[in-house]
Protein backbone atom coordinates (compact mmCIF):
# COMPACT_ATOMS: atom_id res chain seq x y z
CA UNK A 1 0.00 0.00 0.00
CA UNK A 2 2.81 2.37 0.77
CA UNK A 3 3.82 2.51 -2.88
CA UNK A 4 0.40 3.97 -3.64
CA UNK A 5 0.91 6.78 -1.16
CA UNK A 6 0.41 10.11 -2.82
CA UNK A 7 3.59 11.71 -4.13
CA UNK A 8 4.42 14.86 -2.27
CA UNK A 9 3.46 13.09 0.92
CA UNK A 10 6.39 14.65 2.70
CA UNK A 11 5.02 18.13 2.18
CA UNK A 12 2.14 17.60 4.58
CA UNK A 13 4.20 18.23 7.69
CA UNK A 14 6.65 21.11 7.26
CA UNK A 15 8.63 19.85 10.25
CA UNK A 16 9.65 16.72 8.40
CA UNK A 17 12.97 17.57 6.77
CA UNK A 18 13.88 14.17 5.36
CA UNK A 19 11.48 11.40 4.51
CA UNK A 20 12.25 8.01 2.98
CA UNK A 21 9.40 5.88 1.62
CA UNK A 22 10.18 2.28 0.74
CA UNK A 23 13.54 3.17 -0.75
CA UNK A 24 15.45 0.40 -2.48
CA UNK A 25 18.81 0.43 -4.12
CA UNK A 26 20.91 -2.23 -5.76
CA UNK A 27 24.57 -2.34 -6.65
CA UNK A 28 24.29 -5.08 -9.24
CA UNK A 29 22.98 -8.10 -7.34
CA UNK A 30 23.67 -6.49 -3.97
CA UNK A 31 20.56 -5.07 -2.32
CA UNK A 32 22.18 -2.16 -0.45
CA UNK A 33 19.04 -0.35 0.68
CA UNK A 34 16.02 -2.51 1.48
CA UNK A 35 12.62 -0.88 1.89
CA UNK A 36 13.99 2.00 3.90
CA UNK A 37 11.38 4.12 5.67
CA UNK A 38 12.62 7.03 7.69
CA UNK A 39 11.53 10.44 8.91
CA UNK A 40 13.87 13.08 10.26
CA UNK A 41 12.26 16.11 11.82
CA UNK A 42 13.47 19.63 12.07
CA UNK A 43 16.43 20.11 14.45
CA UNK A 44 16.74 16.41 15.01
CA UNK A 45 20.22 14.98 15.13
CA UNK A 46 20.34 11.42 13.87
CA UNK A 47 23.44 9.29 14.12
CA UNK A 48 23.69 6.28 11.84
CA UNK A 49 25.87 3.34 12.80
CA UNK A 50 26.42 -0.05 11.25
CA UNK A 51 29.10 -2.38 9.95
CA UNK A 52 31.01 -1.41 6.84
CA UNK A 53 29.08 -2.28 3.73
CA UNK A 54 25.79 -2.09 5.61
CA UNK A 55 24.50 0.73 3.38
CA UNK A 56 24.78 3.59 5.86
CA UNK A 57 26.86 5.82 3.60
CA UNK A 58 24.70 4.96 0.62
CA UNK A 59 21.63 5.97 2.59
CA UNK A 60 23.20 9.28 3.52
CA UNK A 61 24.44 9.99 0.00
CA UNK A 62 21.07 9.26 -1.55
CA UNK A 63 19.65 12.21 0.41
CA UNK A 64 21.45 14.68 -1.86
CA UNK A 65 21.32 12.37 -4.85
CA UNK A 66 25.01 11.58 -4.94
CA UNK A 67 23.61 8.06 -5.13
CA UNK A 68 20.66 7.15 -7.31
CA UNK A 69 17.91 4.87 -6.01
CA UNK A 70 16.01 2.14 -7.80
CA UNK A 71 12.60 2.53 -6.21
CA UNK A 72 10.74 4.41 -3.52
CA UNK A 73 10.77 8.10 -2.74
CA UNK A 74 13.06 10.42 -0.85
CA UNK A 75 11.72 13.82 0.13
CA UNK A 76 13.79 16.69 1.47
CA UNK A 77 11.94 19.74 2.74
CA UNK A 78 8.82 18.03 1.37
CA UNK A 79 10.08 17.84 -2.19
CA UNK A 80 11.13 14.66 -3.94
CA UNK A 81 14.87 14.65 -4.39
CA UNK A 82 16.60 13.76 -7.64
CA UNK A 83 13.47 12.49 -9.35
CA UNK A 84 10.08 13.52 -10.53
CA UNK A 85 7.19 11.17 -11.00
CA UNK A 86 5.22 10.86 -14.20
CA UNK A 87 2.51 8.22 -14.65
CA UNK A 88 3.81 6.31 -11.65
CA UNK A 89 7.33 6.18 -13.10
CA UNK A 90 10.36 7.84 -11.57
CA UNK A 91 12.44 9.98 -13.91
CA UNK A 92 15.72 11.58 -12.99
CA UNK A 93 15.49 15.35 -12.54
CA UNK A 94 17.41 17.71 -14.79
CA UNK A 95 20.96 18.46 -13.75
CA UNK A 96 19.98 22.04 -13.01
CA UNK A 97 17.18 21.06 -10.65
CA UNK A 98 19.34 18.51 -8.87
CA UNK A 99 22.03 21.16 -8.39
CA UNK A 100 19.43 23.56 -7.02
CA UNK A 101 18.24 20.96 -4.52
CA UNK A 102 21.77 20.08 -3.44
CA UNK A 103 22.55 23.73 -2.76
CA UNK A 104 20.12 23.56 0.18
CA UNK A 105 21.76 20.46 1.70
CA UNK A 106 25.17 20.68 3.32
CA UNK A 107 27.51 17.74 3.11
CA UNK A 108 30.75 16.92 4.90
CA UNK A 109 32.89 14.07 3.60
CA UNK A 110 35.19 11.58 5.23
CA UNK A 111 38.15 12.83 3.23
CA UNK A 112 37.23 16.54 3.57
CA UNK A 113 37.41 17.14 -0.20
CA UNK A 114 38.49 20.74 0.17
CA UNK A 115 39.30 22.34 -3.16
CA UNK A 116 43.05 21.93 -3.28
CA UNK A 117 43.75 24.99 -5.44
CA UNK A 118 41.90 27.38 -3.15
CA UNK A 119 42.63 28.85 0.26
CA UNK A 120 40.40 28.17 3.24
CA UNK A 121 38.40 31.34 2.62
CA UNK A 122 38.21 30.75 -1.13
CA UNK A 123 36.84 27.29 -0.45
CA UNK A 124 34.13 28.76 1.74
CA UNK A 125 33.05 31.55 -0.62
CA UNK A 126 33.26 29.49 -3.84
CA UNK A 127 29.66 28.31 -3.83
CA UNK A 128 28.07 31.49 -2.41
CA UNK A 129 29.85 33.48 -5.15
CA UNK A 130 29.18 31.18 -8.08
CA UNK A 131 26.03 29.30 -7.17
CA UNK A 132 24.22 31.98 -5.16
CA UNK A 133 25.79 34.89 -7.06
CA UNK A 134 26.41 36.66 -3.78
CA UNK A 135 28.51 39.87 -3.96
CA UNK A 136 32.14 39.14 -3.09
CA UNK A 137 32.25 41.55 -0.16
CA UNK A 138 29.29 39.93 1.49
CA UNK A 139 30.54 36.41 0.79
CA UNK A 140 33.91 37.22 2.30
CA UNK A 141 32.40 38.82 5.38
CA UNK A 142 30.18 35.80 5.96
CA UNK A 143 33.05 33.45 5.18
CA UNK A 144 35.24 35.11 7.78
CA UNK A 145 32.47 34.78 10.35
CA UNK A 146 32.23 31.07 9.58
CA UNK A 147 35.98 30.66 9.89
CA UNK A 148 35.81 32.32 13.29
CA UNK A 149 32.97 30.02 14.26
CA UNK A 150 35.09 26.93 13.53
CA UNK A 151 38.05 28.60 15.24
CA UNK A 152 40.25 29.06 12.17
CA UNK A 153 40.32 32.80 11.52
CA UNK A 154 44.11 32.72 11.34
CA UNK A 155 44.04 30.05 8.58
CA UNK A 156 42.04 32.17 6.16
CA UNK A 157 44.73 32.30 3.47
CA UNK A 158 46.19 28.82 3.93
CA UNK A 159 45.83 26.11 1.32
CA UNK A 160 44.31 22.77 2.37
CA UNK A 161 47.63 20.95 2.29
CA UNK A 162 49.01 23.44 4.78
CA UNK A 163 46.29 22.50 7.28
CA UNK A 164 46.00 19.50 9.55
CA UNK A 165 43.22 17.00 8.93
CA UNK A 166 41.15 18.40 11.79
CA UNK A 167 41.54 21.93 10.48
CA UNK A 168 40.64 20.82 6.97
CA UNK A 169 37.49 19.16 8.20
CA UNK A 170 36.49 22.28 10.14
CA UNK A 171 36.96 24.36 6.99
CA UNK A 172 34.86 21.80 5.12
CA UNK A 173 32.08 22.24 7.69
CA UNK A 174 32.30 26.02 7.30
CA UNK A 175 32.17 25.62 3.52
CA UNK A 176 28.97 23.59 3.76
CA UNK A 177 27.44 26.08 6.20
CA UNK A 178 28.20 28.98 3.87
CA UNK A 179 25.28 27.90 1.69
CA UNK A 180 22.97 28.22 4.74
CA UNK A 181 21.57 24.72 4.38
CA UNK A 182 18.55 23.54 6.35
CA UNK A 183 20.10 20.12 6.70
CA UNK A 184 23.63 18.83 7.16
CA UNK A 185 24.89 15.41 6.17
CA UNK A 186 28.11 14.08 7.68
CA UNK A 187 29.65 11.02 6.07
CA UNK A 188 32.11 9.56 8.60
CA UNK A 189 33.54 13.02 9.31
CA UNK A 190 36.19 11.85 11.75
CA UNK A 191 37.18 8.46 10.29
CA UNK A 192 40.14 9.85 8.34
CA UNK A 193 41.48 11.86 11.26
CA UNK A 194 44.31 11.16 13.62
CA UNK A 195 42.90 10.50 17.10
CA UNK A 196 44.11 13.78 18.59
CA UNK A 197 42.12 15.76 15.99
CA UNK A 198 38.79 14.04 16.37
CA UNK A 199 37.80 16.12 19.39
CA UNK A 200 38.11 19.49 17.68
CA UNK A 201 35.83 18.39 14.83
CA UNK A 202 33.28 16.81 17.17
CA UNK A 203 33.21 19.99 19.25
CA UNK A 204 32.21 22.00 16.20
CA UNK A 205 29.59 19.42 15.35
CA UNK A 206 28.19 19.42 18.87
CA UNK A 207 27.75 23.19 18.75
CA UNK A 208 26.06 22.85 15.39
CA UNK A 209 23.80 20.08 16.65
CA UNK A 210 22.03 22.55 18.96
CA UNK A 211 20.44 24.40 16.06
CA UNK A 212 20.65 22.22 12.97
CA UNK A 213 19.02 19.18 11.47
CA UNK A 214 21.80 16.67 11.05
CA UNK A 215 22.34 13.14 9.81
CA UNK A 216 25.70 11.78 10.86
CA UNK A 217 27.24 8.51 9.81
CA UNK A 218 29.76 7.95 12.57
CA UNK A 219 30.93 5.48 15.12
CA UNK A 220 31.83 8.20 17.61
CA UNK A 221 29.65 7.02 20.46
CA UNK A 222 30.67 9.91 22.66
CA UNK A 223 29.22 12.27 20.10
CA UNK A 224 26.09 10.17 19.75
CA UNK A 225 25.54 10.22 23.51
CA UNK A 226 26.14 13.95 23.79
CA UNK A 227 24.38 15.26 20.74
CA UNK A 228 22.13 12.70 19.06
CA UNK A 229 18.38 12.60 19.48
CA UNK A 230 18.18 9.32 17.67
CA UNK A 231 20.50 6.60 16.64
CA UNK A 232 19.92 4.19 13.77
CA UNK A 233 21.61 0.84 13.50
CA UNK A 234 21.79 -0.36 9.92
CA UNK A 235 22.77 -3.81 8.79
CA UNK A 236 22.51 -5.43 5.35
CA UNK A 237 20.60 -2.49 3.96
CA UNK A 238 17.90 -2.40 6.63
CA UNK A 239 17.27 -0.17 9.61
CA UNK A 240 17.51 -2.67 12.46
CA UNK A 241 17.06 -0.24 15.33
CA UNK A 242 15.78 3.30 15.48
CA UNK A 243 15.94 4.55 19.03
CA UNK A 244 17.56 6.99 21.46
CA UNK A 245 21.28 6.64 22.25
CA UNK A 246 20.54 5.78 25.89
CA UNK A 247 18.10 3.09 24.93
CA UNK A 248 20.52 1.64 22.37
CA UNK A 249 23.46 1.45 24.72
CA UNK A 250 21.60 0.16 27.75
CA UNK A 251 18.99 -1.97 26.11
CA UNK A 252 19.57 -2.96 22.49
CA UNK A 253 16.69 -4.98 21.13
CA UNK A 254 18.43 -7.11 18.55
CA UNK A 255 21.26 -9.60 18.91
CA UNK A 256 22.99 -8.09 15.89
CA UNK A 257 23.02 -4.70 17.55
CA UNK A 258 24.53 -6.12 20.70
CA UNK A 259 27.21 -7.94 18.74
CA UNK A 260 28.05 -4.81 16.78
CA UNK A 261 28.12 -2.54 19.83
CA UNK A 262 30.43 -4.91 21.66
CA UNK A 263 32.83 -4.55 18.74
CA UNK A 264 32.89 -0.76 18.63
CA UNK A 265 32.64 -0.05 22.36
CA UNK A 266 35.88 -1.78 23.23
Amino acid sequence: MASLAAPGNGSIDPDVIVKFEKVNKYFGALHVLQDIDLEVRKNEVVVIIGPSGSGKSTLLRSINHLETINSGHIYVYGRMIGYYEKKGQLHEESEKNIARQRAEIGMVFQRFNLFQHQTALENIIEAPLNVRRMPRKQAEAEGEKLLARVGLSDKRDQYPRQLSGGQQQRVAIARALAMKPGLMLFDEPTSALDPEMIGEVLDVMKELAKEMTMLVVSHEMGFARAAADRILFIDEGRIIEDTTPDELFTNPREERTKAFLSKILH
Binding site: F109, R111, Y159, A176
Partner: protein
Protein backbone atom coordinates in the same frame (compact mmCIF):
# COMPACT_ATOMS: atom_id res chain seq x y z
CA UNK B 1 85.79 13.23 -50.42
CA UNK B 2 82.94 15.68 -50.10
CA UNK B 3 83.95 19.28 -50.01
CA UNK B 4 81.91 20.96 -47.23
CA UNK B 5 80.98 24.45 -48.33
CA UNK B 6 81.55 26.45 -45.15
CA UNK B 7 80.64 29.69 -46.79
CA UNK B 8 77.15 28.49 -47.74
CA UNK B 9 76.77 26.82 -44.34
CA UNK B 10 77.56 29.99 -42.37
CA UNK B 11 75.53 32.16 -44.69
CA UNK B 12 72.39 30.13 -44.00
CA UNK B 13 73.12 29.49 -40.34
CA UNK B 14 74.17 32.90 -39.06
CA UNK B 15 70.92 34.80 -38.29
CA UNK B 16 72.38 38.05 -39.62
CA UNK B 17 72.67 36.66 -43.12
CA UNK B 18 70.11 33.85 -43.05
CA UNK B 19 67.25 36.02 -41.84
CA UNK B 20 68.06 38.56 -44.51
CA UNK B 21 66.67 35.96 -46.87
CA UNK B 22 62.90 36.63 -47.06
CA UNK B 23 62.14 32.93 -47.57
CA UNK B 24 63.83 32.00 -44.31
CA UNK B 25 62.53 35.01 -42.42
CA UNK B 26 58.90 34.38 -43.27
CA UNK B 27 59.47 30.63 -42.98
CA UNK B 28 60.63 31.00 -39.41
CA UNK B 29 57.72 33.26 -38.61
CA UNK B 30 55.22 30.86 -40.19
CA UNK B 31 56.68 27.94 -38.25
CA UNK B 32 56.34 29.76 -34.94
CA UNK B 33 52.89 31.16 -35.61
CA UNK B 34 51.55 27.89 -36.98
CA UNK B 35 52.98 25.99 -34.00
CA UNK B 36 51.23 28.30 -31.55
CA UNK B 37 47.89 28.33 -33.37
CA UNK B 38 47.86 24.59 -34.08
CA UNK B 39 48.81 23.78 -30.51
CA UNK B 40 46.04 26.06 -29.27
CA UNK B 41 43.58 24.31 -31.58
CA UNK B 42 44.86 21.01 -30.27
CA UNK B 43 44.26 22.03 -26.67
CA UNK B 44 40.72 23.21 -27.37
CA UNK B 45 39.81 20.16 -29.46
CA UNK B 46 41.53 17.90 -26.96
CA UNK B 47 39.52 19.38 -24.11
CA UNK B 48 36.24 18.80 -25.92
CA UNK B 49 37.28 15.31 -27.02
CA UNK B 50 38.30 14.44 -23.46
CA UNK B 51 34.99 15.70 -22.05
CA UNK B 52 33.17 13.86 -24.85
CA UNK B 53 35.00 10.66 -24.01
CA UNK B 54 33.95 10.95 -20.39
CA UNK B 55 30.36 11.88 -21.24
CA UNK B 56 27.41 9.83 -20.02
CA UNK B 57 25.80 10.45 -23.43
CA UNK B 58 26.69 7.56 -25.76
CA UNK B 59 26.82 9.29 -29.17
CA UNK B 60 29.13 11.97 -27.81
CA UNK B 61 31.44 9.31 -26.44
CA UNK B 62 31.47 7.44 -29.75
CA UNK B 63 32.19 10.61 -31.66
CA UNK B 64 35.15 11.40 -29.42
CA UNK B 65 36.40 7.82 -29.64
CA UNK B 66 36.15 7.83 -33.44
CA UNK B 67 38.00 11.14 -33.66
CA UNK B 68 40.83 9.97 -31.45
CA UNK B 69 40.95 6.56 -33.12
CA UNK B 70 41.23 7.99 -36.62
CA UNK B 71 43.65 10.82 -35.99
CA UNK B 72 46.00 8.80 -33.84
CA UNK B 73 45.71 5.77 -36.07
CA UNK B 74 46.64 7.37 -39.38
CA UNK B 75 49.76 9.31 -40.42
CA UNK B 76 49.68 13.06 -40.07
CA UNK B 77 51.17 13.37 -43.53
CA UNK B 78 48.25 11.43 -45.04
CA UNK B 79 45.76 13.51 -43.04
CA UNK B 80 47.34 16.70 -44.29
CA UNK B 81 47.39 15.58 -47.92
CA UNK B 82 43.80 14.40 -47.65
CA UNK B 83 42.72 17.73 -46.23
CA UNK B 84 44.60 19.90 -48.70
CA UNK B 85 44.46 17.95 -51.97
CA UNK B 86 41.43 15.82 -51.17
CA UNK B 87 39.17 18.60 -49.95
CA UNK B 88 40.43 20.85 -52.73
CA UNK B 89 39.43 18.44 -55.49
CA UNK B 90 35.91 18.03 -54.07
CA UNK B 91 35.50 21.82 -54.00
CA UNK B 92 34.07 21.58 -50.51
CA UNK B 93 36.76 24.09 -49.62
CA UNK B 94 39.36 25.16 -52.17
CA UNK B 95 41.79 26.66 -49.67
CA UNK B 96 42.00 30.06 -51.34
CA UNK B 97 44.62 32.48 -50.04
CA UNK B 98 43.16 34.60 -47.27
CA UNK B 99 44.09 38.22 -46.78
CA UNK B 100 43.64 40.11 -43.57
CA UNK B 101 45.51 42.71 -41.54
CA UNK B 102 47.84 43.12 -44.49
CA UNK B 103 48.88 39.48 -44.20
CA UNK B 104 48.35 36.83 -46.78
CA UNK B 105 47.81 33.28 -45.56
CA UNK B 106 48.17 30.71 -48.30
CA UNK B 107 45.78 27.81 -48.64
CA UNK B 108 48.62 25.42 -47.93
CA UNK B 109 49.34 27.09 -44.62
CA UNK B 110 45.67 27.03 -43.69
CA UNK B 111 45.43 23.35 -44.52
CA UNK B 112 48.68 22.53 -42.76
CA UNK B 113 47.70 24.45 -39.66
CA UNK B 114 44.28 22.81 -39.60
CA UNK B 115 45.67 19.31 -40.05
CA UNK B 116 48.28 19.86 -37.34
CA UNK B 117 45.66 21.24 -34.96
CA UNK B 118 43.12 18.49 -35.54
CA UNK B 119 45.78 15.81 -35.29
CA UNK B 120 47.14 17.36 -32.11
CA UNK B 121 43.66 17.44 -30.59
CA UNK B 122 43.54 13.64 -30.69
CA UNK B 123 46.76 13.44 -28.70
CA UNK B 124 45.79 16.25 -26.33
CA UNK B 125 42.49 14.46 -25.63
CA UNK B 126 44.33 11.67 -23.87
CA UNK B 127 46.54 14.12 -21.99
CA UNK B 128 43.57 16.19 -20.84
CA UNK B 129 41.65 13.10 -19.86
CA UNK B 130 44.56 11.76 -17.86
CA UNK B 131 44.81 15.16 -16.18
CA UNK B 132 41.14 15.18 -15.25
CA UNK B 133 41.28 11.60 -14.04
CA UNK B 134 44.26 12.41 -11.86
CA UNK B 135 42.01 14.67 -9.77
CA UNK B 136 40.34 12.98 -6.80
CA UNK B 137 36.66 12.35 -7.68
CA UNK B 138 35.88 13.75 -4.22
CA UNK B 139 36.54 17.22 -5.65
CA UNK B 140 33.69 16.82 -8.13
CA UNK B 141 31.42 15.36 -5.45
CA UNK B 142 32.12 18.20 -3.06
CA UNK B 143 31.42 20.74 -5.81
CA UNK B 144 28.17 19.01 -6.70
CA UNK B 145 27.13 18.81 -3.06
CA UNK B 146 27.44 22.61 -2.92
CA UNK B 147 24.97 22.97 -5.79
CA UNK B 148 27.39 23.35 -8.66
CA UNK B 149 26.47 21.91 -12.04
CA UNK B 150 28.82 19.48 -13.77
CA UNK B 151 30.00 22.22 -16.11
CA UNK B 152 30.67 24.73 -13.36
CA UNK B 153 32.42 22.14 -11.22
CA UNK B 154 34.60 21.15 -14.19
CA UNK B 155 35.45 24.75 -15.01
CA UNK B 156 35.96 26.08 -11.51
CA UNK B 157 37.21 23.09 -9.55
CA UNK B 158 38.49 20.18 -11.63
CA UNK B 159 40.15 21.81 -14.67
CA UNK B 160 42.22 24.37 -12.72
CA UNK B 161 43.70 21.47 -10.76
CA UNK B 162 44.03 19.23 -13.81
CA UNK B 163 45.91 22.03 -15.60
CA UNK B 164 48.86 21.43 -13.34
CA UNK B 165 48.98 17.82 -14.44
CA UNK B 166 48.37 18.73 -18.08
CA UNK B 167 50.92 21.51 -18.50
CA UNK B 168 54.15 19.47 -18.40
CA UNK B 169 53.08 17.04 -21.16
CA UNK B 170 51.50 19.96 -23.01
CA UNK B 171 54.92 21.60 -23.10
CA UNK B 172 56.37 18.45 -24.59
CA UNK B 173 53.61 18.40 -27.18
CA UNK B 174 54.48 21.94 -28.17
CA UNK B 175 58.10 20.96 -28.54
CA UNK B 176 56.98 18.21 -30.92
CA UNK B 177 54.64 20.56 -32.70
CA UNK B 178 57.42 22.99 -33.62
CA UNK B 179 59.32 20.18 -35.28
CA UNK B 180 56.31 18.55 -36.89
CA UNK B 181 55.33 21.74 -38.73
CA UNK B 182 58.13 20.79 -41.16
CA UNK B 183 55.78 18.17 -42.61
CA UNK B 184 53.89 21.05 -44.20
CA UNK B 185 56.76 21.24 -46.66
CA UNK B 186 55.12 18.49 -48.73
CA UNK B 187 52.06 20.64 -49.38
CA UNK B 188 54.35 23.59 -50.17
CA UNK B 189 53.39 25.65 -47.17
CA UNK B 190 56.08 28.29 -46.81
CA UNK B 191 57.40 27.28 -43.42
CA UNK B 192 61.02 27.07 -42.34
CA UNK B 193 61.97 23.72 -43.85
CA UNK B 194 60.21 24.63 -47.08
CA UNK B 195 62.38 27.74 -47.25
CA UNK B 196 65.54 25.67 -47.03
CA UNK B 197 64.31 23.16 -49.62
CA UNK B 198 63.54 26.03 -51.98
CA UNK B 199 67.03 27.45 -51.55
CA UNK B 200 68.44 23.97 -52.01
CA UNK B 201 66.54 23.63 -55.26
CA UNK B 202 68.48 26.65 -56.51
CA UNK B 203 72.01 25.98 -55.18
CA UNK B 204 71.92 22.25 -54.38
CA UNK B 205 73.81 22.19 -51.10
CA UNK B 206 71.52 19.85 -49.12
CA UNK B 207 74.13 18.85 -46.54
CA UNK B 208 75.05 22.39 -45.55
CA UNK B 209 71.54 23.78 -45.84
CA UNK B 210 69.74 21.09 -43.89
CA UNK B 211 72.27 21.17 -41.07
CA UNK B 212 71.68 24.92 -40.90
CA UNK B 213 67.90 24.32 -40.93
CA UNK B 214 68.19 21.77 -38.15
CA UNK B 215 69.97 24.34 -35.98
CA UNK B 216 67.01 26.68 -36.26
CA UNK B 217 64.68 23.96 -35.03
CA UNK B 218 67.13 23.18 -32.26
CA UNK B 219 67.20 26.86 -31.28
CA UNK B 220 63.41 26.99 -31.09
CA UNK B 221 63.03 23.83 -29.04
CA UNK B 222 65.87 24.84 -26.72
CA UNK B 223 64.40 28.28 -26.08
CA UNK B 224 61.08 26.61 -25.48
CA UNK B 225 62.55 24.17 -22.96
CA UNK B 226 63.82 27.18 -20.96
CA UNK B 227 60.40 28.81 -21.06
CA UNK B 228 58.74 25.55 -20.11
CA UNK B 229 61.04 25.07 -17.14
CA UNK B 230 60.11 28.56 -15.96
CA UNK B 231 56.39 27.92 -16.33
CA UNK B 232 56.59 24.68 -14.41
CA UNK B 233 58.70 26.17 -11.66
CA UNK B 234 56.07 28.92 -11.35
CA UNK B 235 53.29 26.34 -11.14
CA UNK B 236 54.97 24.68 -8.21
CA UNK B 237 55.84 27.87 -6.39
CA UNK B 238 52.50 29.58 -6.60
CA UNK B 239 50.82 27.09 -4.35
CA UNK B 240 53.80 26.44 -2.19
CA UNK B 241 53.95 22.88 -3.32
CA UNK B 242 56.46 20.83 -5.20
CA UNK B 243 55.47 19.68 -8.68
CA UNK B 244 57.84 16.95 -9.67
CA UNK B 245 58.73 17.27 -13.32
CA UNK B 246 61.88 16.41 -15.23
CA UNK B 247 64.41 19.21 -15.26
CA UNK B 248 65.15 21.28 -18.30
CA UNK B 249 68.20 19.29 -19.29
CA UNK B 250 66.53 15.96 -18.73
CA UNK B 251 63.83 17.21 -21.07
CA UNK B 252 66.15 18.70 -23.65
CA UNK B 253 68.04 15.44 -23.96
CA UNK B 254 65.17 13.04 -23.29
CA UNK B 255 63.95 10.55 -25.82
CA UNK B 256 60.26 10.41 -26.49
CA UNK B 257 57.45 12.08 -28.31
CA UNK B 258 55.27 10.21 -30.70
Amino acid sequence: MYHFDWQVFWQYLWPGTALANPLIRTGLMVTIVVSVISQFMGVVLGLFAALGKMSKFGPLRWLADAYIWYFRGTPLLVQMALLFFGLGVTHIYDFPDLHFLGLSVSGAIQAGMLALGINEGAYMAEIVRAGIEAIDPGQMEAAKSLGMSYGMAMRRIVLPQAAKVIIPPLGNEFNNMMKTTSIMQVISAAELFYAYTQINARIFKPFELFIAASFYYLAMTTVWSFIQARIEAGLGERKGEAVKTPGMFERAFAKGGH
